[in-house]
Subunit: 143 residues, 2 copies
């Protein structure tokens, strides 16, 4: 059999498996905030910039409205953000954190460090991993 077709020789499979494993590692921490991993990513952006359009969130997370609209509606239901049509352009929906959403930031501040500890990778390895993966992602953005 063609060696390149063997599962153990795949490069993408470990990345796919690791990505899922990562969100599992986040789970216990995010459960305390009643957030899923994608929802947590939205909150990270909103904590940096209180107001974002659906489009802006999509560009930063590489997600489209088909994914974001229902996700944001669920977060709105939880009372951690608001969705309002822009007055100046009725096509645009503005996403803002609520007070409850802002308050979650304190608890969330502890997550990154705890997560890195569970990953079992050195700082050097993490930096290298990020660098390589980002290189491939930048190519995508330019495409």
């Amino acid at each position: 059999m063609n060696n390149q077709l063997k599962l153990e020789n795949q490069i993408c499979f470990p990345v796919y498996a690791f990505s899922r494993e990562m969100t599992n590692l986040y789970k216990p921490f995010l459960d305390e905030l009643s957030l899923t991993y994608p929802q947590y990513l939205v909150m990270l952006i909103l904590w940096e910039e209180k107001q974002q359009t659906v489009n802006q969130l999509g560009e930063k997370l590489y997600l489209d409205s088909g994914t974001l609209t229902p996700l944001l509606k669920r977060m709105e239901q939880k009372g951690i953000l608001t969705r309002t049509r822009s007055k100046t352009d009725e096509r645009v929906v503005l996403i803002c954190t609520t007070e409850a959403g802002e308050k979650m930031q304190e608890k969330a501040a502890l997550i990154p460090e705890q997560l890195v500890a569970t990953l079992g990778l050195s700082i050097d390895e993490l930096q290298l991993l990020k660098k390589i993966v980002n290189k491939a992602l930048v190519r995508k953005v330019l495409a």
Copy 2:
């Protein structure tokens, strides 16, 4: 704001985004085989070992029956594998490729090389990426 909470400082987000990007890059190739990426992974295993239990597939792919059962049923519908209860242990379901499933291997043989070309990463970077990610995954298996 806590620097570690900034999206650009996250290590897991690039991995998550890259993992999704990867399956998008596979898409044009897998469309020709009418396979999704997880289905392709199942086929990789079956091409190596013609017969596998649902459990064995799950251990190799880190997936449970809740994911695999419907996925395998869809593949059975396509006529590329069979699902049969084991005679010696009625709890076990044996997954085997059909002739049609075996035949797909020829076409699939071209995929790995083409995919690596589209990733835009050097062989060294790919090897390093795999090594780092596998290190984190091995920890999981032992856990």
